[in-house]
């Protein structure tokens, strides 16, 4: 179902005879690369063909075929469709694939995630530790033959709940009454547990610099319970005085297994789960997932639904950005006052969401081939009022209060700089990438939905510091207002869904990678269907997670007090970082 256009024009098979072949499985696309040639292949793809941006890297466990596959999605930052390539290795431990860190440093956290959840060893990765689970956890949970203690069945709805309703508690089925399982012969009294040492050792690698001076470095942990980490994020920092020598993000404290649960859910059941990824912008998450599955199904939503989707996605972006600006100011020390300005505007947008979907935050509004409900009476007038009258005024007011503020400028200009080259190398996305001078916006680079119809500018700023990352959010809010104004004017009548509302959709076998420009950056979904009721693989390319790859390098050399501001300017949401 994916458009095969780009790969046909590139004759990569002739370039690497014998080691690169087109992927000819039904519904699949891209190239299969022999693992010996992977690094040289990636170098050619990046340097000669210009695919300089690694969007997504993930593993897939093909248990019946006895294969493990790593899938790479690369794009050009100048725009246009992407290129997919894959490496297949036999499914016998140790499963080894060369690391793409030398070519695409943005692979760092994604390779660690694939190692953690699927047990694929990336040879040459400098710091291959678990990233979401803790060091010492038994097994690699996303493998198809790994089951947790509460495991019931491969696919929902579970027979214990439906249709006869003989509900049984998962607690009653497990010996400990809890969702834990231990290896046979495990003796908790004799075992030693040490989930932290590996982290500290990896931090110490950077501690041995030969300066000729005897300096005593200090290790500081911030989080996971810390008021400035936007949730349960943790950073381990090595300090020289107050200057940061190295910083490692530590996450997984909110890892709630979206991908494992998603493989058991039916396609439609995953829709409300996407709400809980980036819980500040549920409509955008819905959008990405709906697009991906629609790609597989070959469904196109009707006109009215397309317009409603755009309006909702842009309202989400505004709600997210005012919140992000407020929190950034919190982190810079203006405790809660600027935030209340942001929260006020967000509340008004949440009222609209509540009217259309029934819920303030977890909207669950999009469906495959349309949206769940039409706009209720009076809502369009409300959106009209917000977009034409209130928001432009309020955004100007907020900017006037912040942009020229002496303290804000001193604390943010020139701090936490991310250069344009580094932003691409580390696969940064969204405002983080655009504030570094790369005008890359999926809405323009590869338009989805009906974004090609609207007139708007891709916001871009060039200094890549905290200040620019704050100001670019103002710019983006203004562009979103422009889009909403056009969409509200042109909103046609008609049906809101192309299909009958059903619980179970038929999804043909194949793979699809759908991406949208979420408020945090490029949000991608990689879904594999085998034609059954549940997806075989459901992977989320989370912008917050991958943006953190650049966090350590951005902070090195700064003072400890500025780290909080840098983190605030990246704008992460832990639901999406940890998934």
């Amino acid at each position: 179902m994916t458009t095969p256009a780009p790969t046909q024009t590139l004759d990569l098979a002739a370039r690497f005879p014998g080691s690169v072949t087109p992927d000819e499985r039904e519904g699949y696309d891209g190239w299969i690369v022999a693992k010996e040639k992977l690094i040289s292949f990636a170098q050619v793809v990046r340097d000669e063909f210009g695919y300089d941006y690694l969007s997504s890297l993930t593993g897939v466990d093909y248990l019946p075929e006895g294969k493990m596959e790593v899938v790479y999605h690369v794009y050009k930052t100048t725009g246009g469709p992407g290129l997919i390539f894959k490496v297949q290795v036999p499914r016998q431990d140790p499963i080894e694939v060369p690391s793409l860190m030398p070519v695409y440093p943005g692979a760092d956290l994604q390779e660690r995630e694939a190692w953690d959840l699927l047990g694929i060893k990336f040879i040459g990765h400098p710091d291959l530790r678990r990233v979401l689970m803790w060091e010492g956890f038994e097994g690699h949970p996303l493998r198809k033959d790994w089951q947790e203690a509460f495991f019931e069945e491969e696919a929902k709805p579970f027979k214990s709940r439906w249709p006869d309703g003989q509900f049984t508690m998962a607690e009653d089925r497990t010996p400990l009454g809890d969702n834990v399982a231990f290896p046979a012969g495990f003796d908790p009294k004799k075992a030693r547990f040490d989930p932290e040492t590996a982290l500290y050792e990896s931090l110490r690698q950077y501690d041995k610099e030969e300066t000729g001076l005897e300096t005593d470095h200090m290790l500081v942990n911030m989080g996971p319970h810390h008021p400035s980490t936007h949730g349960v994020f943790r950073m381990a920092v090595i300090l020289d005085g107050e200057t940061i020598v190295s910083l490692k993000p530590v996450m997984g404290y909110l890892h709630r297994n979206h991908e494992k649960i998603g493989e058991r859910n039916t396609f439609l059941m995953n829709m409300p789960y996407t709400d809980r990824l980036d819980y500040l912008s549920s409509m955008s998450n819905n959008f990405g997932y709906a697009l991906t599955v629609e790609k597989l199904m070959g469904v196109k939503p009707p006109e009215r639904a397309e317009y409603i989707r755009v309006i909702m996605a842009e309202l989400t972006r505004i709600a997210n950005h005012v919140w992000a600006i407020g929190f950034l100011l919190n982190d810079l020390g203006a405790y809660f006052t600027p935030m209340l300005y942001g929260v006020e505007e967000r509340e008004l947008i949440l009222d609209i969401f509540e009217a259309v979907s029934g819920s303030r935050m977890m909207c669950n509004y999009f469906r495959f081939g349309g949206v769940a409900r039409d706009l209720p009476e009076g809502t369009l007038e409300k959106i009209h009022g917000i977009a034409f009258d209130r928001l432009p005024r309020k955004i100007d007011e907020l900017e006037r209060l912040l942009a020229e503020n002496e303290i804000v400028r001193t604390r943010s200009i020139g701090q936490g700089v991310l250069s344009a080259e580094d932003a691409i190398r580390y696969s940064a996305a969204g405002p983080l990438l655009r504030a570094s001078g790369i005008p890359y916006d999926v809405r323009r680079a590869e338009p989805y939905g009906i974004y090609d119809r609207f007139e708007f500018d891709v916001a871009v700023r060039y200094n890549g510091d905290i200040y620019d990352r704050m100001m670019i959010r103002f710019d983006e809010v203004r562009q979103s207002i422009r889009i909403i104004q056009q969409a509200v004017k042109d909103l046609p009548g008609g049906p809101i869904t192309a299909m009958k509302p059903v619980y179970q959709v038929r999804v043909p076998a194949g793979e699809a990678y759908g991406r949208v420009e979420g408020p945090k950056g490029e949000l991608g979904y990689y879904v594999i269907s085998t034609g059954k009721s549940t997806p075989w693989r459901y992977h989320i390319r989370a912008p917050s997670f991958i943006n953190l790859t650049a966090f350590g390098p951005m902070c090195t050399g700064l003072k400890i007090a500025d780290v909080v501001g840098v983190l605030g300017s990246i704008d992460i949401v832990l639901g999406e970082v940890d998934r």
Partner: protein, 213 residues
Amino acid sequence: MDSKELNSPGYDVPPELQGQVAITTLDRIYNWGRAASVWPMMFGLACCAIEMICTAASRFDTARFGMEIMRPSPRQSDLMIVSGTVTKKMIPIIVRLYNQMPEPKYVLAMGACASGGGPFKEGYNVVPGVDRFIPVDVYIPGCPPTPQALLNGLIKLQEKIKGQSIKGARWYTKGPDEVEIPIPILGPDLIDPRKIDQIKQISKTAKKAEAQP
């Protein structure tokens, strides 16, 4: 609280002194003060934390209930709002924070995840309910609960506080100040120190079952 509520029943205050004198019990006046100045811990786990922040912000405003002062340090807080999914990786920290809070302390499980695992209950890294490790005073349903629901839960907590008596309160009884909850260990899976013998037993029998066939 008006004087009618404050005055203990059965004592008649002369009309000329009403408004200046109140006859009440220590419990009543003490609980009145405590219930109206609960300091929640600034502690957000997941989606529910966003609704908690909205509740504290201008539109819903927990300051009306004396709860607007959120303290990041557990040493200064009375109430832990467990706002979101509790994961196995996070539970040792939550238990440690709970142990660090001074008595009297309260726990409010906000939302489906904190109360019982919610939509993520089957997840391999999810603790199905924070009450497996720390005692919960108020549960709030919802995913996430609306700010109104959270306010309702906080009012319920105030009612609970007002019903307590100094006589029976555990922080005034003799013996150790508070009962520390053993901190869970991250081993091959989450280990509850209170269940170590059971875990050993089960792993032993699992080994036997494996060896037999």
